[in-house]
């Protein structure tokens, strides 16, 4: 009788364990491959974001250079006009 009871309870315990394991194993989470795919995509996006930031910085730097050169060019044109006028005054 004692043996039967013991067998019964061990059978019950085993059943619970197997059921739970089965339940967990059959859940609908993403597979390892899919998780790896997600991870790789995240890395790709992060790298693209960095590249875009670098390009934006580069664009800003080139724009600044253009503005400085334009300022110099305007100054030079102004000096040219002034020199022309001065030369005329000198020759008179």
């Amino acid at each position: 009788m004692k043996l039967l009871k013991s067998l019964k309870s061990s059978f019950l315990g085993t059943a619970i364990i197997l059921l739970t394991a089965g339940f967990v194993g059959c859940s609908s989470g993403p597979s390892q491959e899919e998780l790896a795919q997600l991870d790789s995509l995240k890395k790709e996006v992060s790298s693209l974001q960095k590249e875009a930031t670098t390009l934006k910085d580069e664009r800003g730097s080139v724009e600044k250079q253009i503005a400085e050169k334009n300022k110099k060019l305007q100054e030079c044109e102004k000096q040219k006009q002034e020199t022309k006028a001065n030369l005329e005054k000198i020759s008179k």
Binding site: K5, S6, S9, S10, L12, G13, I16, I17, T20, A21, F23, V24, S27, S28, G29, P30, E34, L35, Q37, L38, L41, K42, E44, V45, L48, Q49, E51, A52, L55, K56, E58, R59, V62, E63, Q65, I66, K69, N70, K72, L73, C76, E77, Q79, K80, E82, T83, K84, N86, L87, K89, I90
Partner: protein, 237 residues
């Protein structure tokens, strides 16, 4: 009974563990799909942005090259206008000559007429038309020259009673320094036989001191230490 208890507890623990691990699982398949969709869209948008930025940068670089070459041309033309030889040494030499002339005129150093000629030479050069020099050479320096009133090379002084060469030299309108008396002595050797003997109504030439002489007599004045007075002498009122 003991075995049953052990089984019961192990089963409870196992269930708790699996339930908790199930609860902690990062995402469901649906969430994964959502993230994949979101990241893919982000990736696509970033790729487009990158492409647009690259195109913009390339255009800006071309623009920069154009502006740069326009500036180089302008600078070249500007130099050609004032320095036809395009020799940058000419410009440097001119700059140096102007700077030297400015300091000479400011210090009123040398002959005014000679400096005036130097200025005319500088004005005649085409380089003076450059905005860097035009105002300085054609307006400021001529103004300074006009303001330059040459001081008379010598003054004269008629001796009065009580005068001595030291006292004359010390007068503010002359040297302001008694140590410069030998200059008066040297300039009036025809009238002064003995430096300690001068007479009222004698008229002396007082020549200007050169910079060198000024420095020499100033140094003498500064280094002069009067002889110590006797310590024991009582001060009486």
């Amino acid at each position: 009974m003991k075995l049953n208890k052990i089984w019961f507890f192990s089963a409870v623990l196992f269930v708790a563990f699996t339930v908790s691990s199930f609860a902690q699982e990062e995402m469901t398949k649906e969430e994964w799909q959502n993230q994949i969709t979101k990241l893919s869209a982000q990736k696509e948008s970033l790729q487009k942005e990158k492409q647009v930025l690259s195109t913009e940068i390339s255009g800006l670089k071309t623009n920069l090259q154009n502006v740069n070459s326009a500036y180089i041309n302008c600078d070249d033309e500007l130099k050609k206008m004032v320095v036809p030889t395009k020799n940058s040494d000419d410009l440097d030499n001119y700059r140096k000559a102007v700077s030297e002339l400015v300091s000479k005129i400011r210090r009123k150093e040398g002959n005014k007429e000679e400096l005036k000629k130097e200025l005319e030479t500088l004005q005649a050069s085409k380089i003076s038309a450059s905005p860097e020099f035009y105002n300085q050479v054609n307006q400021q320096l001529p103004n300074l020259m006009d303001k330059w009133v040459e001081a008379p090379t010598e003054a004269s002084y008629t001796v009065v009673k009580g005068d001595c060469l030291w006292r004359i030299a010390k007068k503010k309108e002359f040297y302001g320094n008694g140590f410069a008396w030998p200059k008066i002595y040297q300039a009036n050797r025809d009238q002064i036989k003995n430096a300690n003997l001068i007479f009222p109504k004698q008229t002396f030439k007082i020549p200007n001191l050169t910079e060198e002489e000024k420095t020499k007599y100033e140094k003498l004045k500064l280094n002069y230490k009067p002889a110590p007075t006797p310590a024991a002498a009582p001060v009486t009122k």
